[in-house]
Subunit: 339 residues, 2 copies
């Protein structure tokens, strides 16, 4: 690579001081028009770009916010990012994303690198491994130092920081209620193992809804999917032993998988079995029939998260962490019977 051109280089070229060059490029009135022009031309010709590290070190702010995500395969996270970008760009910040890949170690590393001066604030959604290990020590220092940080979706209540979550419980109650209302008698739940927070919350909603209707929760109708194994087979096990007429699945993949299993076993959807998923992504929209689903509004979530963070970064006042709960709504499509 060609050596980088710096103010010093240019200064030497014109036999002036570095500050003269700096001011020329900023079009300062302190410098004669003549010299300014020559310097600007030269700089342009040689592709001068101020070294952002130096600038940021000088200014003591980076105008950048870091985002640490478990993964970006999920459509939901993608939409959240859209929302984050919307707000940050509008307010003059850049966004940098790092992925933890659901790994504890990478999450720690990413946070380390971001918080050592590279960004003004941090947005985090916690990785599965971290949730499983239940080890959050890498956040402690940040919280103690009052580093601006906002958690979203996968949060931990231990921390005194801003949080944005969706109302998983209510969303799940609504979904389950809907299944009950349209006449489902045997409603299965397809969820995650217990250490995944959102899975647990959605399960809670399911249980509540069932109990509110005076029914008992039937353990045999609950599938806890272990993602390390074949998802479809685990759902087939359910159908081997039971014949549900309604399914509530805590994410898109589980919902579509369940729909496929049901259809393969000759169930007509929605005549024989109604299915509701969680998260409105392409899988749900392109399923046949399109899936009724709990819509999470990732975009709003991203916007809210970014707003909280930037407010926090820019405010001088005493900090009072808040928890924003976003409600969901049920998008009714063709995978559920109508009333």
């Amino acid at each position: 690579m060609k050596p980088k051109i710096t103010l010093k280089n240019i200064a030497k070229e014109f036999d002036v001081s570095i500050s003269t060059v700096s001011k020329s490029l900023k079009n300062s009135h302190e410098i004669s028009i003549d010299l300014k022009q020559k310097i600007q031309e030269y700089a342009k010709k040689h592709h001068y770009k101020p070294n952002s590290l130096a600038v940021r070190l000088q200014n003591q702010q980076t105008k950048t916010i870091g985002v640490v995500l478990p993964n970006i395969v999920h459509h939901f996270f993608s939409t959240v990012i859209q929302g984050i970008e919307e707000v940050t760009n509008q307010r003059g910040y850049n966004v940098m994303i790092c992925l933890s890949n659901e790994s504890y170690e990478k999450e720690v590393l990413n946070i380390e690198m971001f918080t050592s001066g590279s960004v003004d604030g941090l947005i985090v959604s916690i990785s599965k491994e971290t949730q499983k290990k239940n080890d959050y020590s890498h956040f402690n220092d940040l919280i103690e130092d009052d580093f601006p940080i906002v958690m979203f979706d996968r949060v931990n209540d231990k921390f005194e920081c801003d949080k944005v979550i969706i109302d998983d419980v209510s969303g799940s109650i609504n979904a389950t209620n809907h299944l009950i209302e349209i006449g489902c008698k045997k409603i299965a739940l397809i969820t995650t193992p217990k250490h995944i927070t959102v899975g647990t919350l959605r399960r809670r909603g399911y249980v509540k809804a069932i109990q509110n209707h005076g029914q008992e929760v039937d353990i045999d109708l609950i599938v806890e999917v272990d993602e390390r194994e074949n998802i479809k087979e685990q759902i087939e096990d359910l159908f081997d032993n039971e014949t549900p007429d309604g399914i509530f699945a805590v994410n898109e993949v589980y919902a579509v998988s369940a729909m496929n299993v049901a259809r393969e076993r000759g169930f007509k959807i929605p005549e024989d079995i109604s299915i509701i998923g969680f998260t409105d992504g392409p899988l749900s929209r392109l399923a046949l029939p399109p899936l009724t689903t709990v819509v999470q509004h990732g975009y709003s979530m991203g916007k809210k998260t970014a707003e909280l963070l930037i407010n926090r970064i820019e405010s001088k006042e005493e900090f009072k962490p808040q928890k924003v709960v976003l409600s969901t709504n049920l998008k009714i499509r063709k995978s559920t019977k109508s009333l």
Copy 2:
């Protein structure tokens, strides 16, 4: 936020010089064990972290590479990132991702910010808008300055830089050939408008395959999907006028949409119509029947891309740009008739 703790602070605390502190924290033999210990303890207690901006400015390298992507909703890009991360982490680099959201302006901005000292090298896949505008001036300076940059998937041949692409033409020929071999007589193509490079290349493969078999390309069997409008309706138009017995779609969404339209019109898949998509993502895998598809090996692509970049960054020798073409393979599932 609490004031950041620096070497200077610590130095004042112990009434020693900054260099003593720096050396202590690096466990230098030049400092007495006693003092080192005290300083290290103090640093730990106060969460000292070296300011990475300062360190990187000093070292003149960031050990970070920037990735500019059009979007991350596509499963394909996600897998590419996995590959990139694999290699970069292994070789001691960090990855930062910025999204252009298919916007020309954001692409320019992202590249600006990355190349002004924040990263040692750049990986780029060009946005749709840039492709449409056909304006690549923001790359010119970089190429002239020999800034390490690798383009993947959506590349532009104008530039003298490393590139990694997949063999879209061959992949499409194979897919179309397969349809011909299993006996399809009227094979439709569902593709993008012409300014999207990959769409054009895949179309070329389709055309070649048809012609190689001595057939004429029937324009009425080609759908150019305009994504600003309803995708499904555009495919329905095809079925209104024609009754294809084979479909080659240039991406997952088009393939699944086509499958849904076909099924809604009473086609049995694959008995009445065979469908092949491009890119092996969750949509293809979870479709019913699962889609036969051209597998792109995003993971390998990411790995290769990162390798090229890091080699480039670390090599002192004369630079000779290369273009790596990755071949695809056809994953045959249930959406196509067997022979």
